[in-house]
Subunit: 169 residues, 2 copies
DNA sequence: GTTGAGGTAGAGGGTTTACTCTACACGGTC
DNA sequence: GACCGTGTAGAGTAAACCCTCTACCTCAAC
């Protein structure tokens, strides 16, 4: 099942949510059409499964084993987000992409919101300032969207702004 | 032609880039299929026309008649972006949505880049600090993406961060 | 009144799509 | 050996899609 979800995630990340046909998804998942439909009974479910998998991988990669110190932790989070962008999401956040492809789908929107809320909460906790979750959302969302436009300059600026967040308090 | 582009923009903004069929787009454009194909000879072109129109409207709404003073101008830009989100783009930036729907399309990517570059440049100019374009990109992109998640709290935080941008220089 | 450019309405073709269903292979348990 | 759950391979269906094309209308210019 995780193998299927991983394949689906890879396919959607590469080709977007609209283009790939179910047969393409089947190839990416590496199973037969029947098995694919057994675990994800519709294309919609395939999107959902891919995003669930994405969420777990993202949280794991960005927030595992952070330093205790708030400054170092925040800096590490920013670096890891940049690494994630470079390696996995050069086209932007997959959750926003999924919602953009199907703006009417309330279930997807809920998934996006849960994902972003958990990211913000964990980042604020790592920083040691749970009250700064909105500012952190802006910085991380801004970094994610700007990375493909500005490259590593976005990382430098994001760190600068994160620093300014703590100091003048 | 602008009427067609306006209708297309509205349709894509409402239903995303994948879902609406050409017949739906025809209804939104308010012309016959033949005329629609005359001005936009393929579905791809329809997307393009919609985004061009979107770009002009966005620039106009966010950057027209800004105050001279850098502080006030920047604050006004942030407010207007929030107004734009509330009125037109509750599902996020349309350019990112278009690219996400067709990540392979280089032409769309170029359009996105031009749009964002012009926004950042104008914002930096309005602020009176052309060297802060990357930071402004992060704030505006962050605000745009966070608005649907955090609502007006995102506006408050964005202004706070914009202020911090200038003061400790 | 005629002409010609540019519009509408909508049927049709050929392709692609999401999904179902049949036929068959394998591997562990009685 | 018989059986059953779980897998693969892939043909088949009904609908939807993008785009083209024919037939007709409108209206301004001369």
């Amino acid at each position: 099942m995780t193998k299927i979800a991983a394949g689906l995630e890879r396919a959607f990340a590469q080709k977007g949510f609209a283009a790939p046909s179910v047969e393409t998804l089947r190839d990416a998942a590496g199973v037969s059409l029947r098995t694919l439909y057994k675990y994800t009974p519709s294309r919609e479910e395939m999107v959902h499964a891919a995003l669930e998998h994405r969420h777990r991988r993202y949280i794991e990669q960005v927030f595992h084993d952070l330093p205790e110190d708030g400054d170092l932790a925040l800096s590490a989070v920013i670096d890891r987000v940049a690494t994630w962008m470079a390696r996995e999401a050069s086209h932007g956040c997959l959750f926003h992409a999924a919602v953009a492809a199907a703006p009417q789908d309330r279930r997807l929107r809920a998934l996006l919101k849960r994902h972003k809320a958990e990211v913000a909460e964990r980042a604020a906790a790592a920083m040691g300032r749970p009250d700064h979750d909105v500012e952190l959302t802006i910085i991380l969302e801004g970094l994610t969207q700007s990375w493909s436009l500005c490259g590593d300059a976005a990382v430098v600026s994001a760190k600068k702004m994160a620093k300014a967040l703590r100091e003048p308090a």
